[in-house]
Symmetry: C2
Subunit: 230 residues, 2 copies
């Protein structure tokens, strides 16, 4: 059955890239150092696989996770900013090899590349997910990013599974996946269930099923007044 999934590399303090700055060259700006640090595990794994021709030999846990991620996705949903950043560098054969639905306000013809099509959806996020679901052929709909879109899909209640790749670094400042913009009151939370933890040397992969919103019970397990506070 098709699930809507997302995965993102984040620092231990929850940043998926450095601080946003749209004023200059991205590679020279404040976003890049943080981005390359938190995604280093993936770039290393991909480079390794490319060198191996993606066949046989010893594979790292990281490499397997990337292969599994590509294999599970039948279609993608993507934010406009991520598409803009990738359109040129991805070249003639983008890495998705599946239909991609870009959430945008700017209408545009479908862009066909080798193995990947980009369809520009101006009717909103839910419509993009719906189109991706129909195109996924029973496989998963993967939210490709960026972080803003992952957060929107989650808060809209559309996300079934979230996998975080937690890089062991604190960036201090940066764009955070969860920055308080979840629209939750002090008594509300979004509950998840960890379903898989992969403890790789340079990154910890935690996969969650999203259980959904629920009230936070004021439940001290009968220990009221005796708690070791934080």
């Amino acid at each position: 059955m098709t699930k809507v999934t997302a995965q993102l590399s984040v620092s231990l303090d929850g940043c998926y890239t450095g601080p946003r700055d749209d004023t200059g060259d991205w590679m020279q700006g404040p976003e890049a150092p943080g981005f390359f640090r938190v995604t280093r595990w993936a770039v290393d794994a991909m480079a390794w696989r490319e060198r191996q021709g993606f066949a046989g030999g010893e594979q790292s846990a990281d490499s397997e996770i990337i292969a599994e991620m590509f294999a599970a996705a039948g279609a993608y949903v993507m934010g406009r900013r991520m598409f803009d950043a990738g359109e040129v560098p991805w070249g003639d054969e983008p890495p998705f090899h599946a239909p991609v639905f870009v959430v945008t306000h700017r209408p545009r013809e479908v862009l066909e590349r080798q193995g990947t099509s980009f369809t520009f959806v101006t009717e909103g996020l839910e419509r993009a997910v719906e189109l991706a679901r129909a195109a996924a052929g029973g496989k998963d709909v993967a939210v490709a990013g960026g972080g803003q879109l992952v957060r929107q899909v989650l808060t809209a209640g559309l996300l079934d599974q979230l996998e975080l790749h937690i890089a062991p670094v604190l960036l201090g400042d940066g764009q955070r996946l969860f920055d308080g913009g979840l629209g939750l009151g002090a008594d509300d939370g979004i509950e998840l269930t960890p379903t898989r933890v992969v403890d790789a040397p340079g990154v910890t992969h935690i996969r969650y099923t999203v259980s959904g919103r629920s009230k936070l019970a004021l439940d001290d397990r009968g220990a009221s007044g005796e708690l070791v506070g934080q």
Copy 2:
């Protein structure tokens, strides 16, 4: 050799309690629901309940982690706000069973309780850590909390080990362990090394060695233009 350690229960979005509110009764305020949610794993564990003089609880991986935490600590450093919150409820036999050094601006005589002493240190955090180190008898100095103190110890370069207990919940708003107040530039990070991951059913425990500050290399591993962007 004595290490300076800290451990904290946090939500997946990095909060150790709900939003701060000093205006009313803590139990009825916005902090409590988040606090009880992220610490639920500990309150349920047998080792924690034993320390508090409560019966019951579960013997589990979580319980072992708590027992280990208490066993490793030869002395504690604590923030003033945490002490104030705990002084009355901890009663005649606080759960620490070791010397505790409270960082505060208010001088006060040493407070002796059964098995635990509280020494009030007005000469700052470094002095409190120094005193705790001398009192630890070769065991570890544990930063008991709160979150602000953990952050201060970390940014002061005094922390050797950090263990986070990541509860599978998003609180949206709350007091964050890492909220950007780390004093790092966009090119700087604090590097850590994961040394142990315990994948318990309701919480993921990740222990890190703190490696320290370092420059974030703008290193794309030669993959520029081929990245699956975020």
